[in-house]
């Protein structure tokens, strides 16, 4: 049990630390980093390579945004296996529907309820 937390910590932490190098060493904006990492996750997921990271890291692999890309790719492959050609289009968003819908719903509600801090 404890080992799983330790692994989640170092795997998740390592992914963030590597992304920090990208931020510090290049002029890449955070928006581009997130986009890049999601696409990286899709590629790794499509090749089935992220499974290894997930096996070790648990939430340390699924919580970083790369895990979102991985879920998209795995979902598409699952969709193809179940529904054939149509699965190419339905599989990815079906697998990530919960996260996408939650982002939109909570984003909307919380932005409506709270106000940003005044910048001094």
């Amino acid at each position: 049990m404890f080992m799983q937390y330790l692994n989640a910590f170092w795997v998740g932490g390592l992914i963030c630390a590597l992304a920090q190098i990208l931020i510090d060493k290049t002029k890449i904006t955070p928006a581009r980093i997130l986009t890049l990492l999601v696409v990286l996750g899709v590629v790794l997921g499509g090749l089935g390579l992220y499974d290894y990271v997930e096996k070790i890291g648990g939430a340390g692999a699924t919580v970083p945004i790369i895990g979102f890309g991985n879920s998209l790719a795995k979902g598409v492959i699952k969709g193809i296996k179940e529904d054939g050609f149509l699965g190419i289009f339905t599989g990815g968003t079906a697998a990530t529907a919960g996260g996408i819908a939650a982002s939109i719903f909570f984003g909307c509600i919380i932005a409506a309820v709270f106000t940003p801090k005044e910048k001094g």
Partner: protein, 153 residues
């Protein structure tokens, strides 16, 4: 205050202060790792207490982390953490929620349609556009590969 997409990115950029690389990496490592441990905690809860199956555990954990990221952004706490964490708060899925709520709150004054709702996707939009498009491209390749090897994969 009005932001274009680029200005908003710069505004996010400012939360990632430029200072020694190793120190930034350490903070990103520690805070990013800690956020993943919170995710691991929820994951274990959904698995052992609620008895959800593997895929459902992942979905429920994502939804929970997104909610927390959105809530802490609303409370103006996430950005304070982000000043130290850099990629440690950007890369976890909570950072994705932050990238949605932050501009949505900021632009609320321009109305709920073209302000809040439209600007929600300043960063989440590109992430979804390229993420989903890439996954469909992977799907095409996989489908063709499967057709070639006769469904043996």
């Amino acid at each position: 205050m009005k932001y274009t997409n680029e200005e908003y990115s710069k505004y996010l950029d400012k939360k990632v202060p430029k200072s020694p690389l190793l120190k930034n990496m350490l903070f990103a490592f520690l805070i990013g790792g800690a956020i993943c441990c919170v995710g691991q905690g929820f994951s274990d809860f959904y698995k052992t207490v609620l008895g959800l199956e593997t895929e459902a555990v992942k979905t429920a954990t994502s939804i929970t982390m997104i909610f927390l990221g959105a809530l802490f952004t609303g409370l103006n706490l996430y950005d304070d953490l982000a000043k130290y964490a850099g990629a440690g708060t950007l890369v976890p899925i909570t950072g994705f929620a932050n990238s949605i709520v932050s501009p949505a709150m900021e632009f609320k004054r321009e109305g709920y349609i073209l302000g809040l709702a439209a600007k929600m996707f300043t960063i989440a939009g590109p992430v979804l556009v390229y993420g989903i498009s890439a996954s469909i491209a992977v799907g095409f390749l996989y489908y063709i590969a499967m057709a070639v090897v006769g469904g043996g994969m």
